[in-house]
């Protein structure tokens, strides 16, 4: 072995840093589906306000999506930007504030306790501000991949605005501060889901999905065009919400649809030129997620124009959150987690582990079927206002989340086994 590591300050984080974020995201997913299942209020009747459905929604958006996005970007962004994370201690501190804060926030929301929500929101706000600083520092010194850096900057700007609006909404609930709640909530939704989470997802897609598939990355120009179109659509949506112009909001959704379609076509073209024929089962989830993204934007335009029923608002939420963002995240995480585990399984005289030996494939297969069934049941259940079908969807979603938890734990156990000096991972001839 060549001793290179002495004094290294590398882009490769200690494995505990990203994995603690992923572990929390996996646990929050179980919590979110469980709260949805336990809610007495039918999902299709949900409009707004505190309660278990609201808590389940934020357990997914903040607990699963934002937490995993922080963990993934802390590890993957330095690879793209050629810059190490500025402070590992800050990355750990952010976790210790974010996860208990979100537990408090979702617990407070589920129990109609705004004062608990406010305390949780404050901790989560500080955590996300620390993450925002780490992201800012990383992007500031970044080199290479200008389009992905630009996605990072745009996502960071959306995070800052979404946080500000989120704090205003919590203040409204706790202190009764007067504001146009529906407008603030709509702008918060656009900035958090399509802005921060969506732009991070699209930016990383341009880099990670071709890498997973061993395909050429899309051109910087194509990625930049998609980003500009996305940012214009988001800005237009915010302007439409501020002005109360539904026609403009519908136009923004249509522009977002065009931008998303352009992105999907760009990545699909790239994947067609891949060097290895099998894409892997995660890409089925990626494609379902893309379909949900496009459907959410089409339905968003219809809602803004007033040609969709009021119930379609919930369907929009289902397509956007579990459909697009959660499905995409689960697809990407099932590739990243075993990959990172294999990277960290080697060293100290051990041969590096193979990704396949770190991946409990049957558990992932079971999860995929369960997650897609849950999604289908939710979509059909909400569209047809069928309470039993949406509850069935929540129950299957809970089973899927538990299966994903089993996958994650299995990878961690395999990593621990490898680090404790498991048997050599190279086949030896017996002849």
């Amino acid at each position: 072995m060549i001793p290179f590591a002495a004094g290294a300050r590398s882009r490769l984080l200690p494995v505990s840093v990203p994995m603690r974020y992923f572990a929390a995201a996996v646990a929050f997913q179980v919590l979110a589906w469980a709260m949805l299942l336990a809610a007495s209020e039918p999902l299709s009747a949900f409009r707004a306000g505190l309660g278990p459905v609201f808590a389940a929604l934020h357990a997914v958006t903040l607990g699963v999506l934002a937490v995993a996005a922080v963990g993934a970007s802390l590890q993957m962004l330095p690879v793209a930007t050629r810059q190490p994370v500025r402070s590992i201690a800050a990355a750990k501190l952010a976790w210790w504030l974010l996860v208990p804060g979100l537990l408090l926030f979702t617990g407070g929301a589920a129990g109609y306790r705004p004062q608990l929500m406010a305390a949780g929101a404050a901790a989560a706000f500080i955590a996300l501000a620390i993450y925002g600083w780490l992201l800012f520092e990383n992007l500031r010194g970044a080199r290479g991949m200008p389009a992905i850096r630009a996605y990072g900057w745009a996502a960071l700007a959306c995070l800052a605005l979404a946080l500000a609006l989120g704090v205003a909404l919590v203040a409204h609930y706790e202190f009764g501060i007067a504001l146009d709640r529906s407008a603030f909530a709509a702008a918060h939704l656009v900035l958090a889901s399509y802005g921060f989470l969506g732009l991070l997802a699209l930016g990383f897609s341009s880099f990670l999905l071709p890498m997973f598939a061993l395909a050429p990355a899309p051109s910087e120009r194509g990625a930049a065009i998609a980003l500009i179109a996305c940012v214009c659509a988001i800005a237009l949506a915010l302007a439409a919400i501020a002005l109360g112009r539904d026609d403009l909001l519908a136009f923004a959704a249509a522009a977002g649809f065009g931008a998303a379609l352009f992105h999907v076509i760009m990545i699909e073209r790239s994947l067609r030129a891949r060097l290895r024929p099998p894409l892997g089962s995660a890409f089925l989830l990626v494609r379902v997620a893309w379909l949900c993204l496009l459907a959410s934007l089409a339905l968003g335009a219809a809602l803004a124009l007033g040609v969709a029923t009021e119930r379609a608002q919930v369907l929009f939420g289902v397509l956007l959150v579990p459909g697009w963002l959660l499905t995409f995240l689960l697809a990407v995480l099932q590739r990243i987690v075993p990959f990172l585990a294999s990277v960290h399984a080697g060293g100290a005289g051990r041969s590096p582990a193979r990704v396949s030996t770190m991946t409990p494939q049957r558990t992932l297969d079971a999860h995929r079927v369960l997650h897609l069934c849950a999604l289908a049941a939710l979509v059909v259940g909400v569209a047809s206002a069928s309470d039993w079908l949406t509850r069935l969807g929540a129950a299957i979603g809970l089973a899927a989340a538990i299966a994903y938890g089993v996958f994650f734990v299995a990878v961690m156990l395999r990593l621990r086994g490898a680090q404790r000096g498991g048997s050599p991972d190279v086949l030896q001839p017996t002849h």
């Binding site: 290179f4 004094g7 061993l214 290895r276 990277v343 060293g347 990704v355 086949l427």
Partner: protein, 156 residues
């Protein structure tokens, strides 16, 4: 990924060739082609791997990993070097099996398993170098060093 350095480009082209060759072997193994075709593909892959170990791996270990380590990326360099060692061990095992004149069913089974293992290890190794090593070279090598290294590599 787009590379401006000759050294990165050259290594990138070799990575593409490696992935294509070993993906072809995976297909050959999975589709259960006749034994003679499998052995022929395995021998071609083993020969290509010998060349890769001799030139590509040595070049990276001699010229690039120390530069990566100096730039503070020592753990990535160490990880890649460890993977080289593991691939060397597996390649040696494959060579020994291929030396058998008339391999029996058990030897063929071992060769299939080794072929799949090497394919996975090489592809994963290429992915890591494409993500971590080659982009870093864009920063680490100035134009003159890049020219010298790429000429030295071409002559090796």
């Amino acid at each position: 990924m787009f590379f401006n350095r000759h050294t990165s480009l050259r290594l990138h082209e070799e990575h593409l060739a490696t992935v294509q060759l070993w993906s072809r072997l995976e297909q050959v193994i999975v589709t259960r082609v006749p034994e003679a075709e499998l052995l022929d593909t395995l021998r071609r892959c083993a020969a290509a791997l010998d060349d890769e170990i001799e030139r590509h791996f040595h070049f990276e270990e001699r010229e690039l990993f120390p530069r990566l380590a100096e730039a503070g990326e020592g753990d990535i360099a160490e990880l890649l070097a460890e993977e080289h060692e593991t691939i060397r061990t597996a390649a040696q095992a494959l060579r020994e099996l291929l030396r058998l004149g008339q391999p029996d069913a058990a030897a063929m089974q071992q060769m299939r398993a080794l072929g799949l293992e090497l394919a996975e290890r090489l592809v994963a190794h290429v992915q890591k170098e494409e993500m971590a090593l080659l982009p870093a070279l864009e920063d680490l090598l100035d134009e003159e060093t890049d020219r010298e290294l790429s000429l030295a590599y071409a002559a090796s």
